[in-house]
């Protein structure tokens, strides 16, 4: 027994506490006669009572007897209900609710309960009749509904009470109550009454109402609940209400229409014929329920987990218990469950669903039908503009498919539509992008953005970006499709999908082909991953591994054809296509590993080709592919990959150029190859260079192409000049130029004459002294080394041969590194035809190219000197180019020629001299004119001139200063050309003086021209070598040197001759 010991005591205490309050309340109620004051007393008392009751509302304290005791005054109050204020009623109902819940509980008397229900039903209405007020408040409504909740709760536990509630006599009242409660749920303006009503109804339907009762009230209940549960735009239901209603719904459905109950009832129905429920009724009910359920399913997208959880419960109930009776509702329930099982944390739902579907073949079939329909309608769904919806659709299909797979269902019918559904969906998604203006990709058109410095190491990522996405919305959808395809590819369906798609790939074009390619690639990617994982653990034998490999071969071949077609067709294929192709190649490489080296002969060039495209995205993909290939083939870097396979590249490039393929990619790749592989590659490029020449000849009008090709040639020249044999040669040539210097004209000094005379005298003396010994010849060679004496005879022969060789050498020595040399020579020779080109930048580039090759070519004088002869007129004509920087470049070229051809240039320089003078005069004028001469003339003078050094001749002081300012002024756009030209002119004149040994007249003029820059060390040295005295004089004149002053006599002193003793 619960009420013993200390409980008894506390009960007494409680009673003591309650007694005065109850007495007071009943008195107040009795005396109350409609006056406002009396009501306020009642309110006060009720509030205190309520406080006490609530305090007592702990288990075991309040019992039925106490409740009865408390109820007495309350009933007194309630008798006045038609006059009471809302507050009074509210408080009394709250007390009453507490009494029911904690006092009477299951012991509540049926009559009392019925009365309370009647009373509460009255008061729960929005506009209750027979009260002192017209409209009820939320609080009152809530209180009464609350009270009902507790009553029903209690009644549910008391069989007698429950029986009386559902007795046929009580049906009208029950109906009334249900109506009111339903209204409370749907129409109550605030949350509290809604919640209370929900709870009340839940208690009623769950605990009190029997199946029969439920069945009779089902239409109304379902109708109203559906109204509440159907999401509308007008009203957002509270989630608790929704959950409550959903639970009620679940219970109702399970109670009235579950398969067991209906089948069980059929046995019963023979006995209890009075009951209305029949098969016919069930059918109508099911028919009516179906739309209701469908509208409830809309809640599946509700953001709250608990709501969707409740919905899932409802759906699972439908599937588990009402499979037959509500067969029509299975499909929507499955559908709803599919999307409900999507979130990660809802795996239990998925498991439930899996269990259900796995156990029942009809459900499984139904699920398949659902998936089938969904697949069929997927492309249509893809046309919608709601990205979220699209993604959900795909996710659902995926989930369902996965589930079917997991339970091992036979999906062959699905697989048939799978490929086309996926393909069409992708196509539609892709096409949607075309209409959209919301394009994210930016196309940069920089063909030159191939950055060679990045080729080292593994700095490039091996992860691809999105290949297909051109606008934001696509990403999500395509992601979903991709993950779906990955699921499919792990299943048995993959082969069907592959077969279908690859068939279509061959026949389709445009977006469809793109879609096919994409799908296939994904399948392959995941298939390789799977087989990797699988073969890591298991040895399945070969029969399993072969189909993916074969299909991979197939798309690999397709990918190569895509990549190769870039260059052949006028309309370059879709960049997305190329990008997929690149991925395929990378996949193939990863699959083949080091073995892929054998494929590089075909695969490497197309990849590099795509690297040279103007499209940013493709370039990125291309670099990624290269990195992957390099890794797969176990090269340490992309550079190594390229250098090791440069022969293949050479071949591809050569064939491209030979076929007069004038897309810029091939030269780009060539450029990259040459600069990576260096001079050793050049001997193999002979024919390629020839092809370039041929292209240049045929397309000389295409400025950009010509420039690009010459850029390639320039790189070739640059690398060629680095060839070891030629570098060495260049040094020797320099030395030879130094020799030439000694042949130069120079005045004979007295010392020379004296030496000459001495030698002469010595010779005469010798002849006189040893006159007799002249007849005897002396050995012309040193005595042989004893070690070599054994083959002395042959030695002699060899010597003769050597001598012969020497002679031949003198006549026609083959140039060092013949092939490279020939290439350089040809390139240089070719420049003559393009020097008059219209593009100033090309002219400059050509001149600088010539400067690059000249040192190398100079190694072989026999071909170099005629080449100068050929090039000279063109170079000279560039001296009168309209662009100053071209003039400067031409001057620089002349300087380089002087350096390497030495005295061979003498006559040319002499002829050129007037032009140089003229240029100098013009330039000087310009320098003075453009403001370098004006202004602070005295400013520089003080800095540069040594103190005490005064120019003897000051006519070109202005120029001097101007030049100094020109050279010291910061680089900006205004003076670049002028400065360039000036520097070039100075260097040319210096070079001509240094290497060519000009005539004395020319030297003087050179000195004049160089006067402003004489203070530069190297220039002065060059001039001094020729004629130091003249330089000294010039410096004196310009004031750069303090001229030797006759020492002045200090004031007050006199010169005196020093006296020398003796």
């Amino acid at each position: 027994m619960p009420l013993l010991g200390p409980n008894m005591e506390s009960r007494n205490q409680a009673f003591q506490a309650l007694k005065p309050q109850c007495v007071a309340l009943s008195q107040a109620a009795l005396t109350a006669n409609g006056q406002a004051r009396s009501f306020s007393t009642i309110i006060e008392l009720l509030e205190r009572l309520k406080g006490t009751v609530f305090k007592l509302s702990v288990p075991g304290l309040l019992d039925a007897k106490l409740a009865d005791y408390i109820f007495f005054p309350l009933s007194q109050v309630l008798k006045l209900s038609n006059r009471l204020t809302i507050r009074c009623l509210e408080l009394s109902l709250q007390c009453l609710a507490a009494l029911v819940a904690h006092g009477w509980r299951q012991n509540i008397e049926p009559q009392l309960a019925a009365q309370i229900v009647i009373l509460c039903t009255l008061m729960a209405e929005r506009k209750p009749k027979g009260f002192a007020f017209d409209e009820s408040t939320d609080e009152l409504q809530a209180a009464s509904l609350h009270c009902l909740h507790h009553v029903f709760d209690a009644a549910g536990r008391s069989p007698s009470c429950q029986a009386s509630f559902v007795s046929e006599a009580n049906f009208p009242q029950l109906g009334q109550t249900i109506t009111v409660v339903l209204k409370g749920i749907s129409d109550a303006p605030s949350l509290e009454p809604q919640l209370a009503a929900t709870e009340a109804l839940e208690a009623l339907t769950d605990g009190v109402m029997t199946k029969e009762a439920c069945t009779s009230f089902l239409p109304g209940l379902v109708g109203n609940l559906t109204k509440v549960l159907t999401p509308t735009t007008k009203q957002r239901r509270n989630h608790q209400v929704l959950i409550g209603c959903m639970n009620i719904f679940t219970n109702l459905v399970r109670k009235t229409l579950s398969d067991e109950s209906t089948s069980g009832k059929r046995l019963e129905s023979s006995k209890t014929t009075e009951f209305v429920a029949s098969k016919g009724w069930e059918e109508t009910a099911a028919k009516k329920l179906e739309p209701a359920l469908r509208s409830i399913m809309c809640l599946q997208s509700h953001p709250r987990d608990d709501v969707t959880g409740a919905l899932a419960k409802l759906c699972l109930t439908l599937l588990e218990y009402c499979r037959k009776s509500l067969a029509d509702c299975s499909a929507p329930a499955i559908e709803a469950l599919l999307s409900l099982s999507l979130p990660e944390d809802q795996s239990s739902v998925r498991m439930e669903l899996e269990r259900l579907v796995g156990a029942d073949s009809t459900l499984c079939e139904q699920l398949q039908t659902v998936v089938y329909d969904k697949l069929r309608s997927l492309p249509t769904a893809m046309q919608s503009s709601d990205e979220q919806l699209k993604m959900r659709r795909i996710e659902q299909v995926q989930a369902a498919y996965e589930l079917l797979n997991d339970i091992g269902a036979d999906n062959s019918i699905l697989d048939k539509v799978l490929a086309s559904a996926l393909r069409d969906s992708v196509v539609i998604t892709l096409q949607a992008s075309r209409k959209s203006s919301d394009v994210i990709s930016t196309h940069s058109s920089s063909v030159q953005s191939m950055d060679l410095t990045n080729l080292d190491g593994n700095r490039w990522s091996t992860e691809y970006g999105q290949s297909m996405v051109t606008y934001k919305g696509q990403a999500g959808v395509l992601d979903r499709i991709e993950s779906f395809v990955r699921i499919v590819s792990k299943s048995a369906a993959s082969s069907a999908l592959v077969a279908d798609t690859s068939r279509s790939l061959r026949l389709s074009e445009g977006d469809t082909q793109l879609a096919d390619f994409w799908l296939l690639l994904i399948v392959k990617q995941s298939a390789t991953q799977v087989s990797d994982v699988v073969t890591d653990f298991l040895d399945l034998g070969d029969h399993d591994a072969s189909p993916p490999t074969e299909a991979l071969e197939e798309i690999y071949a397709f990918a190569l054809s895509v990549l190769n077609s870039t260059s052949n067709d006028d309309a370059s294929p879709d960049a997305r296509m190329c990008s997929l192709a690149l991925r395929t190649v990378a996949l193939r490489a990863q699959h083949a590993g080091k073995d892929f080296r054998y494929e590089l002969i075909d695969a490497l060039y197309p990849v590099l080709h795509s690297l040279a495209t103007p499209e940013d995205v493709l370039q990125r993909d291309s670099t990624t592919t290269l990195t992957i290939i390099a890794q797969a083939c176990e090269y340490s870097s992309v550079r190594e990959l390229i250098v090791e396979n440069v022969d293949y590249l050479t071949n591809s490039v050569a064939l491209k150029l030979n076929a007069f393929d004038i897309s810029p990619q091939a030269p780009q790749v060539l450029l990259m190859m040459v600069s990576l592989a260096g001079p050793s590659l050049l001997p193999f490029l002979e024919d390629t260079i020839d092809s370039i020449f041929a292209v240049l000849e045929s397309y000389h009008g295409y400025g950009l192409l010509v420039e690009l090709l010459f850029r390639v040639l320039a790189v070739v020249a640059e690398e060629g000049a680095k060839a070891p044999a030629l570098v060495e040669g260049a040094k020797k040539a320099l030395a030879a130029a130094g020799f030439a210097e000694e042949d130069a004209l120079r005045p004979i000094s007295i010392a020379n004459v004296a030496e000459l005379l001495k030698e002469k005298a010595m010779e005469e003396m010798k002849t006189n002294a040893y006159g007799s010994s002249v007849g005897e010849g002396h050995p012309k060679r040193p005595w042989k080394d004893p070690e070599q004496s054994d083959d002395g005879t042959r030695d002699g022969e060899q010597d003769e041969e050597d001598a012969q060789d020497q002679q031949i050498d003198d006549a026609d020595v083959p140039p060092p590194a013949p092939k490279t040399y020939q290439i350089l020579f040809k390139i240089t020779e070719l420049t003559q035809h393009f020097l008059p080109s219209a593009s100033p930048s090309l002219r400059t580039n050509l001149l600088s190219l010539t400067r690059t090759t000249v040192p190398a070519i100079a190694r072989h004088e026999n071909s170099f000197l005629p080449l100068i002869n050929t090039l000279w007129p063109e170079i000279v004509s560039r001296l009168e180019d309209e662009e100053m920087h071209v003039q400067a470049a031409a001057l620089d070229t002349v300087a380089v020629l002087c350096e390497h051809a030495g005295n061979f240039m003498r006559s040319r320089i002499v002829r050129l001299w007037p032009l140089l003078l003229e240029m100098h005069a013009r330039l000087v004028k310009e320098i003075l004119f453009t403001g370098y001469g004006a202004g602070k003339a005295g400013y520089k003078e003080q800095e540069t001139h040594k103190p005490g050094a005064v120019a003897l001749v000051s006519h070109n002081n202005g120029l001097h200063n101007a030049v100094a300012r020109l050279e010291s002024s910061p680089v900006d756009y205004t003076n670049t050309n002028l400065r360039l030209l000036w520097t070039a002119l100075v260097s040319t004149i210096t070079a001509s003086v240094r290497y060519v040994a000009p005539s004395p007249d020319n030297f003087d003029e050179a000195l004049d021209m160089l006067a402003p820059v004489l203070e530069q060390e190297d220039i002065r040295q060059a001039l001094e070598k020729e004629n130091a005295d003249a330089v000294w004089l010039a410096r004196i004149r310009s004031g750069a040197l303090a001229h030797p002053v006759v020492p002045l006599v200090p004031a007050g002193c006199q010169w005196a001759f020093a006296m020398v003793a003796g």
Binding site: S546, F596, N651, F684, D687, D690
Partner: protein, 390 residues
């Protein structure tokens, strides 16, 4: 390849690949080991073995101190251990090399074009004969008529062969047997006509009888054979169709023809036996057909011209089928990949289904290359162009 699209009309195609590496003219080309390797010889005496699947050199050595005149394999010497190949050089040497598979990997691969190559390792030299090498006439080789029976008894050793080279005297042909290195015969030119130097030689063994075919400086082509019992060599066929020296000839024994090309514009089809149809000439309108070669299936033959083009002709009709233009300078040498059932391809066909999926990338490549009907053309520019034809 493009070939199929172009159909029967004259073909103007792109080469499949260009082999670069020789720095001198290519004088000889020869496919060995079921087309897996191509051997090329140049005017400086360098020989390069190219691995066809990867198109890279696997062996480079200087076989002769002078220009290579001809390269051929020792018939019947192919085995798992490798081939014997014979090179003939301007240095008056005929050399027989044993190319074992294992050896190939040990050879140097530094190309002559790369720079001056250092002393490189050579394959095992089996024979080195001093022979005459007056002009550019290459040697000819055939299985010795007597060795067909004896070779069956000892499977390991390759059959005896006869090697024909021009003699020191104009118009003479010396035939030497190998490995015995003994003079087998000397054939003198027919006295009734003026032949000049021997320019091209062909040997043909049929049912134990040897036929020697010679092309002469004067434009004559002759067939010699030994009359029964007699040791004398009689010219059984003499025909002058060329106005210029014969440059090359090749035999199509199945068709009973041999073909000759010369420095003039004519290609001639000669009967090999008395019975076959008469001589037929083709006026090609381009002079200088340095090399002529018949494919092993005898369906087509090709010529290498001084105009830089290789041309493919039908062997039966002598109709021009394709012009292969890539080289800018004259083509000097040609080689057809062998077609037909070789030992290893038989094996592959047999269990192709079972084997196919086990092939690695490399093996697939090899298989593809071996089954490709390639033609290699070597040119004065030192490059070899590879073509996929028919």
């Amino acid at each position: 390849m493009d070939v199929d699209d172009c159909g029967p009309k004259i073909l103007y195609a792109q080469p499949a690949y260009i082999l670069r590496g020789h720095s001198a003219q290519i004088h000889a080309l020869h496919f060995i080991a079921d087309n897996k390797y191509l051997i090329s010889g140049d005017a400086d005496g360098w020989v390069i073995i190219w691995d066809m699947p990867i198109k890279r050199p696997v062996g480079v050595w200087q076989a002769h101190r002078g220009a290579i005149l001809g390269i051929n394999s020792w018939p019947g010497s192919e085995s798992d251990q490798g081939d014997r190949i014979i090179t003939h050089g301007r240095d008056n040497k005929l050399r027989v090399w044993q190319l074992a598979q294992d050896d190939i990997s040990r050879l140097a691969i530094k190309l002559p074009a790369d720079a001056e190559p250092a002393d490189s390792r050579q394959p095992w030299l089996l024979h080195s004969l001093t022979v005459n090498a007056l002009n550019f006439c290459s040697f000819a080789i055939s299985i010795s008529p007597g060795s067909l029976t004896s070779s069956k008894t000892s499977n390991d050793a390759p059959p005896d062969v006869l090697v024909a080279v021009p003699g020191v005297q104009d118009g003479y042909i010396n035939i030497t047997s190998l490995p015995a290195e003994q003079r087998f015969a000397t054939i003198t030119d027919p006295k009734d006509i003026k032949t000049g130097m021997v320019m091209a030689i062909g040997l043909q063994t049929e049912s134990g009888k040897l036929k020697v075919i010679a092309g002469y400086e004067s434009g004559y082509a002759c067939v010699f054979s030994q009359q029964d019992g007699s040791s004398n060599w009689q010219a059984i066929y003499t025909h002058k169709s060329h106005t210029q020296p014969v440059l090359s000839l090749d035999i199509a024994p199945g068709l009973n023809y041999f073909y000759s090309s010369s420095a003039d514009e004519i290609i001639t089809r000669h009967p090999l036996n008395e019975g076959s149809s008469a001589t037929k000439t083709l006026q090609t309108k381009h002079a200088g057909q340095q090399s002529l070669i018949v494919r092993s299936d005898e369906k087509i033959f090709a010529t290498a011209g001084w105009d830089g083009r290789a041309r493919v002709y039908s062997a039966k009709t002598m109709k021009e089928l394709a012009v292969l233009k890539w080289h800018k300078e004259g083509c000097y040498a040609l080689a057809f990949a062998t077609i037909g059932e070789s030992k290893s391809s038989n094996k592959l066909d047999g269990d192709a289904l079972a084997v196919k999926r086990n092939l690695t990338v490399a093996e697939q490549r090899v298989q593809k290359v071996q089954s490709t009907h390639g033609l290699a053309a070597g040119s004065k520019d030192g490059k070899i162009s590879l073509w996929d034809v028919y």
